[in-house]
């Protein structure tokens, strides 16, 4: 069989689809924002403006590959590929549908969290290597924000892991056959979603690149394809967080049988992507210290509480059996 987890065809198809979808998300986001903001968005290139992404790609590839003379060249060039790499690596453990995936790992959840932590290096390196004060402020903010929110992100997932008894994402989906984890783990879902937005630093948590405050934050000095990688990396992040939400809390590919499993997965993921875009359109940005206070004083106790209650519940159930 060629269509099985880990086959070259499967890997190739997933890689291709993920990158294309992430690029198309740029168009989707601009059109959706346009719809919600009483304007049109890009609608000139190709049907419905679909080829806008192609035009952008041509532009971004044709741009001069510029490294500022005052930057630290090695880390400056290294930073953008890191974010692309770590997020694409995270996709390897995502179970898209039965038989569709790159690897079937028993430590899937841990792997995703580990990769997400490495993503922070990209942002920090980019900001520090730029040798620009705005970039420095951006990477300082990014480091603080990503490190803090990773803590709650990890803890919020443990409820799901406890209920399933496995770190394997495929097992987690199968464990939801009788009911999605959104119901028992609603608090975990909320915390994971908030932390996920903070991890992919999108508005309202785009503090590391807050345009109105620090111009473009850590990628102020970046242009051309290197900027493009940060940019696509952000959309890959959105895609990843949406897929994870679906896998962990919304039953992954599970759904009524009149549609194939992969379609259910895509539909659910699209819903969250649209939701993230809507959040961006609706909410203002909190201040850096407010975000940190909110995280440490509210989200952390809440996620610990959630974990303790879930653990108690699991123990009680085991004891009862």
């Amino acid at each position: 069989m060629v269509w099985e987890v880990g086959s070259p065809l499967s890997i190739g198809a997933i890689l291709f689809t993920v990158i294309i979808v992430a690029a198309m998300l740029i168009w989707v986001e601009r059109r959706l924002l346009g719809l919600w903001q009483e304007r049109l968005g890009p609608n000139r290139v190709g049907p419905f403006g679909l080829l806008q992404v192609v035009a952008d790609m041509i532009k971004i590839f044709a741009k001069e590959d510029w490294v500022p003379p005052f930057a630290d060249k090695f880390s400056f060039v290294l930073a953008p590929p890191i974010i692309m790499f770590v997020i694409l690596m995270s996709f390897t453990v995502i179970p898209f549908a039965p038989g569709v995936g790159v690897i079937d790992s028993d430590v899937g959840v841990l792997f995703v969290l580990a990769m997400a932590s490495l993503g922070a290096y990209s942002v920090m390196l980019g900001g520090l290597a730029s040798n620009n004060k705005y970039a420095l402020l951006g990477s300082l903010r990014a480091a603080a924000q990503m490190v803090s929110y990773e803590v709650f992100m990890g803890i919020s997932l443990l409820g799901v892991v406890a209920l399933t008894g496995s770190f394997n994402l495929r097992d987690i989906v199968i464990a939801q056959t009788d009911g999605w984890f959104i119901i028992p783990q609603f608090i975990g879902f909320l915390i994971f979603m908030i932390a996920g937005i903070a991890e992919s630093h999108r508005l309202p948590f785009d503090i590391p690149e807050a345009e109105q405050e620090i111009v473009a934050g850590y990628h102020t000095e970046y242009s051309g394809m290197k900027f493009g990688m940060f940019f696509v990396g952000e959309y890959l992040g959105v895609l990843l967080i949406s897929s994870l939400l679906v896998v962990l809390f919304f039953g992954g590919w599970l759904g009524p049988a009149f549609l194939p499993p992969i379609v259910w997965f895509v539909l659910k993921t699209s819903f969250f992507i649209a939701f993230f875009i809507l959040l961006r359109a609706a909410i203002p940005r909190p201040r850096y210290d407010q975000l940190m206070t909110y995280g440490w004083l509210f989200l952390l106790p809440l996620s610990l509480l959630n974990l303790m209650i879930t653990g108690a519940f699991v123990l009680w159930q085991e004891g009862g059996m």
């Binding site: 924002l33 919600w36 903001q37 009483e38 304007r39 004060k133 705005y134 402020l137 508005l203 309202p204 785009d206 807050a210 345009e211 109105q212 405050e213 620090i214 111009v215 961006r280 359109a281 609706a282 909410i283 203002p284 940005r285 909190p286 201040r287 850096y288 210290d289 407010q290």
Partner: protein
């Protein structure tokens, strides 16, 4: 000299004050004059300035809380000075009393050989920038000033442009060229040296970071630079640097005719459109003695309020955007577009119609002008309610803006804050109510105020002002008087065509007033209005010619920016962005 005085609001009040001052300071007061605007003018000896200022501020029967303006006049080629003391350069101080609702102007004559004034920046903190501007533009030194450096022009500039002997056109100067050596000199002059900005490089505990915010930065709304001294992300100091948008509007006014300067005024507060025309044309009308018909007044009020709405909507949207809310600005631009469509249908242009004329407006209202306006009036209230729930009631926005950048009434007056910034800290002061002009006394509207004087309140006041403007516009539409759209006065520009073809004399007169423009009788006048951003004032000096001898444009934004260090120290960079967004300034209005 034909003078028709339409503002007698404070004449009797100031008359007693002038008597009091003349008695008390008989050695210091040289002369007392009065012009068509009714503001008493006292000529003082230079050495007497400080004590008279102190007296006026602290112990006179009428106390003056605000230093409204400081400027100078190069008198060397002025004719028709009508018994004024001999002077090469006259420094004028304009003070404003809120308790008695009146103004006074103090003048000091200086001779070319000795252009030194004592500084009053320790008496009125906002004198700092005004004195710097005087030095920059006229070369008048203010002894004791803490930082007497160029404010508008580059540090390497030679000469003082508002002097009459300074060229007014590029063609009068050598063609500009930048040699390699010159470029090095210019670059070196721009080098940032914290000590020159009154900043220290480190404290006992930490080394500070200096961040150059601007002149190009997404949130400075134009070309505005703030040098930040940071401890982490906490602002130790923030020093504004202006002048990047300086176009010499006051100098241009001296080479244009009275009529042809009107379009330049549109571009002072470029969001205010025809509202900028208003103080200028009213000032000229007052000197010319023109009384405009009622219809003109109402048309002017209606369009000014339209522009107030357009400007406030832009403020509202960018304010939300600067605290990170992406969408409101788009909704508000859609509304602004409706307003501009109406303005275009009436004036023929959108942002800078230049549509008011001396003695009237450019054309009569078009047929069916009120339909679109009525639609707007019905459409806007629901939209404003939506914005309230989207922006003003948003919890994150409240946490970002409440308690940030707050100041009180006393502070506001010390720094020359007017308009919504003054009303947000609880002072119910609106020029349209206090000293009605152009028929504002005939309209029913409220003056919204707030109490905390923080970023949130400044925004809340402006939001309510949009509603009040809609109310005024509805009254205009419902009660638009009939009648001519320009005055029949001979100095009305362009003159009435009907009076031109009667005989050769009327034809010649018409020809002259169209080609040269009107000759305005010698006089001086200050005309102040409640503009979109605060009090905007034109101080015109006519020496009986076809153009202004001196035009001083006192803009609200200039005063407001000077207060930034005061209200932003100790906050974070993100708060500074909220503060400058809440001030609502336009750099063209600051630099002119």
């Amino acid at each position: 000299m034909e003078v028709i005085d339409t503002t007698s609001y404070a004449d009797s009040v100031t008359a007693t004050l002038v008597e009091e001052l003349c008695l008390r300071f008989e050695n210091e007061v040289i002369a007392v004059q009065s012009y068509c605007d009714g503001i008493p003018v006292l000529w003082l000896k230079r050495d007497g300035l400080i004590i008279v200022m102190q007296y006026l501020r602290q112990s006179a029967s009428i106390r003056f809380q605000m230093l409204f303006d400081i400027t100078a006049i190069d008198e060397r080629v002025r004719v028709n000075r009508q018994g004024q003391p001999e002077s090469d350069f006259t420094v004028t101080y304009h003070l404003m009393s809120f308790t008695h609702n009146c103004d006074i102007r103090l003048k000091v004559a200086l001779l070319d050989a000795d252009l030194v004034m004592p500084t009053i920046s320790n008496l009125w903190p906002n004198a700092n920038w005004y004195e710097r501007e005087c030095w920059d533009m006229f070369g008048i030194t203010f002894a004791g000033h803490p930082n007497l450096t160029r404010i508008m022009l580059p540090p390497t500039w030679k000469g003082h442009p508002l002097r009459k002997d300074h060229p007014a056109r590029a063609t009068e100067m050598e063609p500009y060229s930048l040699s390699a050596e010159r470029q090095i000199v210019e670059q070196e002059a721009l080098r940032f040296n914290p000590e020159e900005w009154g900043m220290r490089r480190d404290s006992k505990n930490s080394e500070f970071m200096f961040l150059n915010l601007g002149p190009n930065h997404p949130s400075v709304h134009g070309v505005f630079r703030i040098a930040l001294q940071l401890d982490g992300e906490i602002l130790v100091d923030a020093v504004p640097d202006i002048g990047y948008h300086h176009r010499g509007a006051e100098k241009m006014a001296e080479r244009q005719t009275w009529h042809t300067f009107i379009p330049y005024t549109d571009r002072i507060d470029y969001l205010g459109g025809v509202m900028n025309n208003l103080p200028y044309v009213m000032a000229v009308e007052k000197m010319a003695g023109i009384v405009v018909p009622e219809r003109v007044k109402v048309i002017r009020v209606m369009l000014c309020e339209m522009f107030r709405i357009a400007s406030h909507l832009l403020f509202y949207g960018t304010f939300a955007q600067d605290v990170g809310q992406l969408s409101p600005v788009f909704y508000m631009f859609v509304d602004r577009e409706r307003v501009f469509n109406i303005i275009e249908s009436i004036c023929g242009a959108r942002m800078h119609p230049g549509w008011f004329r001396i003695g009237g407006v450019a054309q009569d209202l078009p047929n069916g002008w009120d339909k679109a306006i009525r639609e707007l009036l019905d459409f806007m209230p629901a939209r404003l309610r939506d914005y309230d729930s989207m922006v003003m009631n948003n919890g994150i926005l409240k946490r970002r803006t409440q308690g940030v950048g707050a100041y009180g009434v006393k502070e506001a007056m010390d720094w020359g804050i007017t308009g919504s910034g003054l009303r947000a800290c609880g002072m119910e002061y609106d020029f349209r109510k206090q000293r009605p002009y152009s028929g504002y006394e005939n309209f029913e509207f409220e003056v919204p105020i707030a109490v905390n004087g923080d970023c949130y309140d400044r925004c809340a006041v402006r939001v309510e002002e949009i509603r009040q403007s809609l109310r005024i516009i509805r009254q205009c539409v419902d009660n638009m008087p009939s009648g001519p759209y320009k005055s029949a006065h001979p100095l009305t520009t362009p003159p009435l065509k009907e009076k031109s073809k009667l005989d050769i004399e009327t034809l010649i007169n018409h020809f002259l007033s169209v080609s040269w423009g009107p000759v305005i009788p010698p006089n001086e006048v200050t005309m102040t209005i409640e503009a979109t951003k605060g009090l905007s004032s034109y101080y015109l000096v006519s020496d009986g010619s076809t153009g202004s001898y001196r035009t001083r444009i006192r803009t609200p934004s200039f005063a407001h920016l000077q207060m930034i260090p005061q209200i932003s120290r100790g906050f974070m960079v993100a708060d500074l962005i909220a503060i400058i967004a809440s001030i609502d300034f336009v750099m063209a209005d600051v630099d002119r």
